[in-house]
């Protein structure tokens, strides 16, 4: 007989009523359509992608990180010290063997595609080896995640706090993020924006359901591709020019920097005619902050400052 998970959780809660703040183990979670069971807080974690590493560091878990891989860029200044000594397993997607070599009990992937045969390993394979795996909920593809909101982002932070039995740290982190976010007043000039992520001939842009949409909304900007129910899409320059955005968000990645994008926009015979390009109305966001994670809120604060500095006639 299989005990329903909520019932099991209720029993555990009843049994461990003594430790009020402590998480209840075994902890059962549904993560991206995959059930995870944890008997105790993970002790050796592999973090894949910057968003995963940064959340763990923000919760003060650097001691438990056995290795990091596929980092999208440098850590932000406030986390740099905590993350300085971490073992880098691979600059790109690590192979399963590289991951297993450090004997992790938990692999935290920023993208669901990190868990593939060519990558860190299929999730059932890892589970059979006693290694739990966790996909950042906003990056789930097996089950379409609901539209990303800051509340859902905070829920991931809280869940990570429960997994590692550091609820107090998670609560403090969420509290701090809420406070920062509350300090941002959405722009009220009724401006539209393009979220330009990458691509040259075919621009890859932020659409209506993931971090770009969430950040633009917090800034008070209307996303020109906001009607498309996807995180990001391959759009066309024509659709961009047709919408004629007031500001352009440039994602600053090591492989495709904001400066490269500015040059491209200024040289391209069509985008060079956009008012936003002529007037250089750009907002820049570092790539690791452009995916769902702890850097979204600070990015909103920073971009709101950039946006306030832009002048619009009339």
């Amino acid at each position: 007989m299989r005990i329903p998970s909520f019932l099991a959780a209720a029993i555990v809660v009843a049994l461990s009523a003594g430790g009020a703040a402590a998480a209840d183990y075994p902890l059962r979670l549904d993560n991206c359509g995959f059930e995870i069971v944890l008997d105790k807080p993970p002790e050796r974690v592999v973090a894949i992608k910057s968003t995963a590493t940064e959340l763990l560091l923000s919760l003060g878990l650097s001691e438990r990180i056995a290795g990091i891989a596929f980092q999208d860029g440098p850590l932000p200044p406030d986390l740099a010290a905590a993350g300085a000594g971490l073992a880098v397993l691979s600059d790109r997607l690590p192979s399963q063997e590289v991951v297993l070599e450090v004997e992790p009990d938990f692999v935290y992937g920023g993208w669901e595609s990190n868990f593939s045969g060519e990558g860190a390993g299929e999730r059932p394979t890892l589970a059979a080896l006693g290694v739990a795996s966790y996909v950042a909920p906003a990056a789930c593809r097996s089950v379409k995640p609901p539209e990303l909101t800051f509340e859902r982002l905070f829920a991931e932070m809280a869940e990570m706090g429960a997994i590692f039995d550091v609820e107090a740290a998670a609560a403090a982190l969420i509290e701090n993020q809420r406070r920062l976010l509350a300090g941002v007043a959405p722009d009220e000039r009724g401006l539209t924006a393009l979220w330009y992520s990458s691509g040259t001939r075919t621009p890859y842009v932020g659409a209506g359901s993931n971090a770009p949409a969430m950040i633009l909304e917090a800034l008070g900007l209307a996303n020109i591709f906001g009607a498309v129910d996807e995180g990001w899409i391959s759009a066309s320059w024509e659709a961009v020019v047709d919408a004629d955005p007031d500001v352009i968000v440039l994602v600053d990645a090591a492989w495709n920097s904001a400066e490269q994008k500015k040059t491209l926009l200024a040289k391209n015979p069509i985008t060079s005619q956009l008012e936003a390009v002529i007037e250089q109305r750009y907002l820049v966001i570092p790539f690791p902050a452009s995916e769902a994670g702890v850097r979204n809120v600070p990015a909103v604060v920073d971009m709101a400052r950039q946006l306030a500095g832009l002048d619009f006639p009339e």
């Binding site: 040259t200 659709a239 015979p269 005619q273």
Partner: protein, 349 residues
């Protein structure tokens, strides 16, 4: 008397068709171009589109639409339409010539690995920092793939159609793997999308310089190929027969193969490895106008242009505001046609 009359009027109808099929295709191409540039995420009517073109040709003082909409027509849609037509014409010509020279109904720059070789050359030059020389890289790549294909054919003691295809599969696999490898290891992040546009073929982002490059390669190669129509007919009977008909077999073969490699290289440099156009178009045109190359070549060129224009228009407007690599559409059409040709020529393959 009456019978003779009927026969004459019947043959004059056929003659009219023969004489007017090319001008009819030219008209169809122009009409297609006019219509195609009215498709897209932005709503622009045919009248406005033509107004913009006339304005830029200096025949109209004011553009009928706003500055940005004017740019959508003149800087985006028109160069892309011109590039699409040129790429279609070039690939169709290349396919027709290869089918004749190799006496292989399945020959096509994509199936024989030339397109993949060209993509490898283009990406290699691009990543080496020689973006301006990229078309040269594509030409060298397609030439190398062609040379490799011919060498393997020699080693096999003469290429049957199926041997040629197997060789092509091998070359294409090798070149595609090398292209993917180059992109994976020199670039980072989400560059797989760039790989897709090279391997699947896409005309997204084509600008006037691309259209100009395509046009220049056609101006250079098309007359050479069109003038060789009669000689290509002779090739159908074998090299010895062609030589006895006064064709300088070796020289002509190399001239035409070089032209084919050049066309393929330029088309790939602009649009990536767009498949099956060089296969589908010549076969479809043969059904309508027969196998004589003096008629087949110009018809294939025009039909190729029209075909590519419409498939690219579909690629950029079917999933508005998203874009699809056009090679997906040409493959969806081309692969079944490839099967059909396999069945039709089953005795010789």
């Amino acid at each position: 008397m009456a019978g003779a009359q009927v026969r004459r009027s019947g043959s004059s109808a056929a003659a009219a068709l023969r004489h007017f099929s090319l001008p009819a295709l030219v008209v169809l191409l122009l009409v297609s171009a006019t219509l195609a540039i009215t498709f897209g995420p932005a709503e622009i009517s045919p009248g406005e589109a033509w107004g913009v073109i006339l304005h830029h040709l200096g025949l109209r003082p004011e553009s009928p639409v706003s500055r940005l909409r004017d740019a959508i027509v003149w800087e985006l849609r028109l160069p892309r339409a011109v590039a699409a037509m040129g790429v279609g014409a070039g690939l169709a010509l290349a396919g027709t010539v290869m089918q004749a020279l190799t006496r292989n109904p399945l020959a096509d720059p994509y199936l024989l690995g030339l397109s993949s070789g060209a993509a490898l050359g283009a990406v290699g030059f691009l990543l080496a920092g020689a973006a301006l020389l990229m078309p040269l890289g594509a030409f060298l790549g397609s030439l190398a793939a062609l040379a490799l294909a011919l060498l393997v054919a020699q080693l096999l003691g003469g290429a049957t159609p199926s041997r040629a295809i197997l060789t092509g599969i091998c070359i294409a696999a090798l070149a595609s793997a090398a292209t993917s490898f180059l992109i994976f290891w020199t670039a980072t992040g989400d560059s797989y999308r760039e790989i897709l546009s090279w391997l699947m073929g896409s005309l997204g982002g084509a600008v006037w310089s691309d259209a100009g490059l395509v046009a220049a390669s056609l101006v250079l190669c098309a007359p050479v190929i069109l003038a060789a129509g009669r000689a290509l007919d002779a090739f159908a009977f074998g090299d010895a027969a062609a030589a006895s008909l006064g064709v300088e077999v070796t020289r002509l073969r190399w001239t035409l193969l070089t032209a084919t490699a050049l066309l393929t290289g330029v088309m790939v440099a602009v649009g990536g490895a767009i498949g099956f156009v060089g296969l589908v178009v010549p076969h479809a045109v043969r059904l309508a106008v027969g196998t004589r190359h003096r008629r087949l070549l110009p018809h294939a060129m025009l039909v190729g242009a029209i075909f590519m224009l419409w498939t690219d228009t579909a690629a950029r407007s079917l999933f508005d505001p998203r874009e699809l690599p056009v090679g997906i559409i040409t493959a969806l059409i081309g692969a079944p046609v490839f099967l059909f040709i396999l069945l039709r020529y089953r005795r010789i393959t």
